[in-house]
Symmetry: C2
């Protein structure tokens, strides 16, 4: 499927009444930092705590439109996507089954359980998650909601762009030169890159990765798909993926997305700035765009920049650590 | 001055482009709790971290319209009002002088200093703050920006109501039955009560106080102005005032506002809910409306309720404490 910008605008019209209209926040210290304007789209305030609600809602509502009698949904995820799928299934009166590694932190398990989802654990060293998901989907008749490598998911995530455009227009700002987005599997980046090509045609899209999980940066550099060493450490657990997807990567390449990376230290500073100056809680993997702006200031000097803060599912201990900087 | 609802709507039209359009957040657990609908207006995301920006901006812009050559502004406050006045003065290219008690916590001093304001300390056991402010205003030619007991301030704070109405309308909800507001000096409550009388005519307005700082509750009960014992302890420092003002009280009485109170324990639970479930940081004094909803559930059963979360200027240690509940 060749996704067009119009598909994303139409999707936004269809799902927008189900979303929280997350704010665009500003702070004079960020304007000063780049001698330009910085607009922070706070998707950590989305229902379920992240942008993942958008794609999952699009996928699930489309599945229900064509097959209203599906018994439920299944997703392999330990984080924001799991919460989104569980939340939407509950809203729709359907069951959700979430496939999680056995060593998932308890805080994440709790968030999914609060949404009444059933959880199946698997051993991530001995089993393949996708295989487990597919087997359980087949056994139970549940519909799979993939985390990123799927056109309906990509279209849903891209709805951040038309929504931000409407908000920026109302604020008198439409000329965005750079858009900074967290990148794990590339669902957010590919959807937003497609939409931005039409809605902010003068803009450059940046995919921001943690420094030892910069597979996209290396893949774009070499033209050869790079896979991350999953033994490397990062606090950005929500975007700690082996590689971007084979559906998302060609889109990212087609739209000339640029990849940049940030360190854990950069990320902690940005978590702290968001909490201390903006009163919002943003998780490490969700704040990398702001971290990149603060780290690579020269890239954005004098520009109008849109930064997506993508989620807030943080371990409170990391939030606290950020305050001791 | 007799403030009319139309004054507040007109003020909103005048100042709205200078404000952050703070979101209205929802959470299914709160809907379930009261078997109704709960809309949280997140003014902790306002510029400067609280609703205080609204009143101070209205006051300062009116002062500059009539006397553009004022050298600067002065305010007596150690908290959100101080940050708001300092922020706006900086935006306007004017100086700000903030009068603070000598024992103000360092975090609050830092927030004001970041806005380039000058600070004068006074001894709150030996000196009267208003007298210090008036003397310094006279000496320096600076214009006083009072924290709550002033018609322009009250009008500005009330702009939350027309703004929320516009947002709720876009969400398909206009029938609000209860409005919960934090109450210290009563600026927010009086402004919102005036506006709500016209905009949400079916609604009852609740002023929420900390349990040992419930002067308004006692004053409304007895008809005799009550003053709080300032030796009592509360974590709600931002609404820890000796009494509501003599300008705000008659408005609060005229519009039949009801006062209710909450304990520090209720407040900590609400701080935690906001952080854990909504990814926002709300200060104790700013979250009392949500605390009251969670505590006095029966009062709001089956209703559509608007709760204003008024500020986010929290001591990180209290935020952390809320996570250990």
């Amino acid at each position: 499927m060749n996704i067009l910008p119009i598909n994303i605008v139409e999707c936004y019209q269809k799902i927008k009444n189900q979303l929280t209209l997350t704010p665009i926040l500003t702070h004079h210290a960020l304007h000063n930092l780049i001698q330009g304007k910085v607009f922070l789209k706070a998707e950590n305030l989305q229902i379920g705590g992240s942008f993942k609600f958008r794609g999952a809602f699009n996928k699930i509502s489309q599945a229900l439109a064509s097959s209203p009698d599906i018994p439920g949904f299944i997703a392999g995820s330990s984080g924001n996507h799991a919460v989104a799928v569980a939340t939407i299934a509950r809203m729709m009166g359907k069951s959700a089954l979430i496939v999680m590694p056995e060593d998932t932190p308890m805080t994440k398990i709790t968030k999914v359980k609060k949404q009444k989802a059933e959880i199946v654990f698997y051993n991530r060293y001995q089993e393949n998650r996708e295989a487990v998901v597919e087997r359980l989907a087949k056994d139970s008749g549940r519909h799979i909601v993939p985390p990123f490598n799927d056109p309906d998911i990509i279209v849903g995530q891209g709805t951040i762009i038309p929504e931000s455009f409407n908000q920026l227009s109302a604020m008198g700002n439409t000329g965005i030169q750079s858009i900074l987005l967290p990148c794990g599997g590339g669902g957010l980046v590919s959807g937003c890159a497609i939409a931005a090509s039409h809605i902010f045609p003068q803009s450059k899209v940046y995919a921001v990765e943690p420094e030892h999980y910069n597979d996209l940066e290396k893949t774009l550099e070499t033209g050869k798909q790079h896979t991350n060493d999953m033994q490397e450490k990062t606090i950005c657990d929500s975007i700690m993926t082996p590689t971007v997807g084979n559906v998302t990567l060609p889109i990212i390449q087609k739209y000339n997305v640029k990849a940049i990376s940030v360190s854990d230290e950069d990320v902690l500073k940005a978590v702290h700035f968001a909490a201390e100056e903006l009163n919002i809680i943003v998780e490490p993997g969700g704040v990398v765009g702001l971290a990149a702006l603060m780290r690579h200031t020269n890239l954005f000097f004098g520009q109008h920049v849109l930064v997506v803060l993508s989620g807030g599912n943080i371990d409170p201990k990391i939030l606290m650590k950020s305050f001791n900087l």
